[in-house]
Amino acid sequence: MTATEASATDLDLVRLAQAGDVEAFGELVERNRRAVFRAALACVGNPAEADDVAQEAFVTAYRKLSTFRGEAQFRTWLLSITWRKAIDRRKSVSRWLKMAVAPARDESGEDAFDQMERVASTERSQEDTIVDEELQRNVMRLIGTLPRKLRDALLLAGTGEHTYEQISQMLGAPLGTVKWRVSEARRVLKKKLAALGYAYE
């Protein structure tokens, strides 16, 4: 990465990539890989599949780069591609068959959300170690039971990489609807936690 590329905006890098500068596109990959990966992860729920979807999204973006006119932000455009790819993956017949044959369990007996929990647990902070582990696991499990629309909005809002506007673009829903879905997801989770017997201690 050159100093010019480091200080260039996404749009500048896009123009360079459109002119055939592959390194400029590589810089775009570096800048956006986390946001793309997490968007895919929020949709498919599996880090390995999310990684594959993110790669597909970048490849598609590279091939369609000549159609990008710069009316929207590059990241918003890229996240829209990512979300469509992730939805396709979620709906894919092969994935459905895989789930049907081995219902969300791999060889180690873990499902997708167990894997996410395991991967995330390696990065736990000191603060997190003092919280109720059982409550934490139950919240993660309950998130997996939320309706798709509510779960997508809640997880995308929790990535720390996407603004509400970008989430609205990805989901194809108005901004107010996205905010309502996040709020509704939290309300449903609290209700389910209360039903499990959790209360103020």
Binding site: R33, F37, A42, Q55, E56, T67, L135, M140, L193
Partner: protein, 203 residues
């Protein structure tokens, strides 16, 4: 767990909110495995970004070429192929086979006509074969003879003398019957009928 009646009061809500935030953060704050950029580039085409018009041009050319080759293959295939048809002999065929067959008429073929080529695909299949081979039409001379020897009004000599036809006798004329004559019997005298007198007889 607790047996205390669950109420979503203020402190409980804040606890739940913290738990949800933490759970979502732990689920989503995951980074892709190292080497992500290399994996993306490994899946990219070796060629740089290509304009869509160039792609469509190449695709259109390839499509046209494919259609042309396909059309040539179809023409070759259906132009010379043999269609094998299983045919059950009909009653007329069986009768014709039993009757003595007349000698085949002589067929005059042109020198350029090639002998029929049997292109049977598929080996030994029982039954009668109907081929679609080209059978040249025989070149036959005029069945009415030469046009020079034909009679025509234009070829009649105007100075020629033609004999006057004489009527043939009744006996010789075919198709006529002579009056009946019985020997020993005179024919009756002809009956003469006087003209009628309107005033009466003898007046």
């Amino acid at each position: 767990m607790s047996d205390i009646p669950r109420r979503l009061g203020g402190p409980a809500e804040s606890r739940f909110d913290r738990a949800i935030d933490r759970a979502v953060r732990e689920m989503m704050h995951v980074d892709p495995r190292p080497g992500f950029r290399g994996r993306v580039f490994a899946r990219l085409d070796p060629e740089p970004v290509r304009s869509s018009s160039m792609f469509f041009r190449i695709a259109a050319g390839a499509g046209a070429l494919a259609v042309l080759v396909l059309a040539m293959m179809v023409v070759r295939h259906y132009g010379t192929a043999t269609v094998d048809v299983e045919r059950v002999p009909s009653v007329a065929d069986q009768r014709a086979a039993q009757e003595p067959q007349p000698a085949p008429p002589p067929v005059v073929t042109t020198p350029a006509a090639a002998p029929p080529v049997h292109m049977h695909r598929g080996g030994s299949r029982p039954g009668r074969r109907m081929t679609r081979e080209m059978i040249p039409m025989p070149r036959v001379t005029n069945v009415f003879g030469s046009r020079r020897s034909a009679v025509g009004a234009a070829s009649v000599d105007a100075d020629a003398v033609w004999p006057t036809p004489t009527p043939e006798p009744h006996e010789d004329r075919p198709g006529t019957v002579a009056p009946l004559r019985i020997p020993g019997v005179e024919p009756p005298a002809p009956i003469v009928v006087a003209p009628l007198n309107p005033r009466g007889p003898g007046l």
